[in-house]
Amino acid sequence: MALQTSLSKIFNNLKSGVFTRYADNTDKFLLDTAAIGWMLASLSNMTGVFFNKKVDKKERRYLAAQEIADGVTNVALFYGITYSLIKGARGLVDKGIIGSKALDEKGTMMLKNGVGTIASLFGAVFTNNLITPVVRNKFATFVQKKTGKNDVYAQSPIVKPSSIPYTPIQQKTPISIQSYMAFTKNGGNMRI
């Protein structure tokens, strides 16, 4: 009974918190849910690695670490860039650079939300569709040159984990091309 009460309280607080944060801020809602989507996608990709029998057991650790690094890089890039754009766009309304004399205070708040939403959409497209694929291609090319197999590029959508360096153990035991292909074939870098 006590558990039920506390769970119900947690759920109520969650609903109340969601309302307070997002009911008037579409831009923040789009930013946060997209970032959560990225994180969940990385989590499911990582789970996929652990249960992928086609990948050698030793190499799963390497791929899972890479998947975590991929997720961290993508979310950090997306959140950092898009958040800055939203903040900057909202600031333009605050400073009067974007505005309208025809609007009252409520109207200006709505304009601010609209401008923020445009910035949020632009940031999402810019980071997801331009920055990430370029980084991904650079890494795929690097793998291709290392392995000497052209097809790796075509089937490797994994981003180089620039923020997390490889450990010496991973460098000593590079992943085999068969395992790499089997892993990427199962839809790595999926987006939710």
Binding site: N12, N13, K15, S16, G17, V18, F19, T20, Y22, A23, D24, T26, D27, F29, L30, T33, A34, I36, L40, A41, L43, S44, G48, I97, I98, G99, S100, K101, A102, L103, G107, M110, L111, N113, G114, V115, T117, I118, S120, L121, A124, V125, N128, N129, L130, P133, N137, T141, Q144, N150, D151, Y153, A154, P157, K185, N186, G187, M190, R191, I192
Partner: protein, 197 residues
């Protein structure tokens, strides 16, 4: 006369002076916030289907065959990902809307922390959905629906997206290989007939 009217309309919604937008231009910008996560996913998916293949095709570090193959796969991956993402989000938002309203499952009693935050932001205190505006309720149900959708997509990612993407990639691979072999055979034929002449 019609042209003059059109010019007049264009002037009315001019974005030229950003510091003093016309009321129509301001209205357009205000209405952008009607875009929910379904619209966002669709925008992301469509732009990805155009931009990512272009990026793949411009990668000069790999050969032409790899570039083409990669671009085709980007289209398949993004197209299927978008279809699932948009469908699941739209369904879960619709589902959440049914449970949002006064006294319904997603109604709440504002916590002290939330009320403090509303006061700090200078907003009208909303103690429950009974005090909320129509727009706030719509945004709230869209958020709850999207959060539910993200949980659902953890499963559809494995059960729908990955099998479909793999199947379509294999199909595309086969078609591409056949096309490439035909092209090569034609080239060889031309070379042979050229040398015999």
């Amino acid at each position: 006369m019609k042209i003059n009217n059109n010019i007049q309309q264009l002037k009315q919604c001019s974005f030229g002076s950003l510091s003093n937008l016309s009321s129509r231009a301001a209205k357009y910008i205000q209405d952008v916030d009607k875009v929910n996560s379904v619209g966002q996913r669709a925008i992301l998916g469509v732009t990805a289907m155009f931009l990512q293949p272009m990026i793949d095709m411009s990668n000069k570090d790999v050969d032409q065959k790899t570039r083409e193959s990669s671009a085709i796969r980007s289209i398949a991956r993004n197209g299927i990902g978008m279809l699932t993402g948009v469908t699941v989000r739209a369904a879960t938002i619709k589902f959440a809307e049914k449970f949002t309203g006064e006294g319904k499952f997603l109604d709440f009693k504002a916590s002290e922390k939330s009320m403090e935050a509303m006061t700090k932001q200078g907003k009208k205190i909303v103690k429950s959905l009974a005090d909320a505006s129509e727009k706030q309720i719509k945004n709230y149900s869209a958020t709850m629906g999207t959060l539910l959708g993200l949980c659902v997509m953890l499963f559809t990612n494995f059960l729908v997206d990955i099998p479909l993407i793999n199947a379509s990639q294999n199909k595309i691979d086969n078609l591409y290989q056949k096309h490439h072999m035909k092209k090569e055979a034609k080239k060889n034929e031309e070379a042979v007939s050229g040398s015999s002449n």
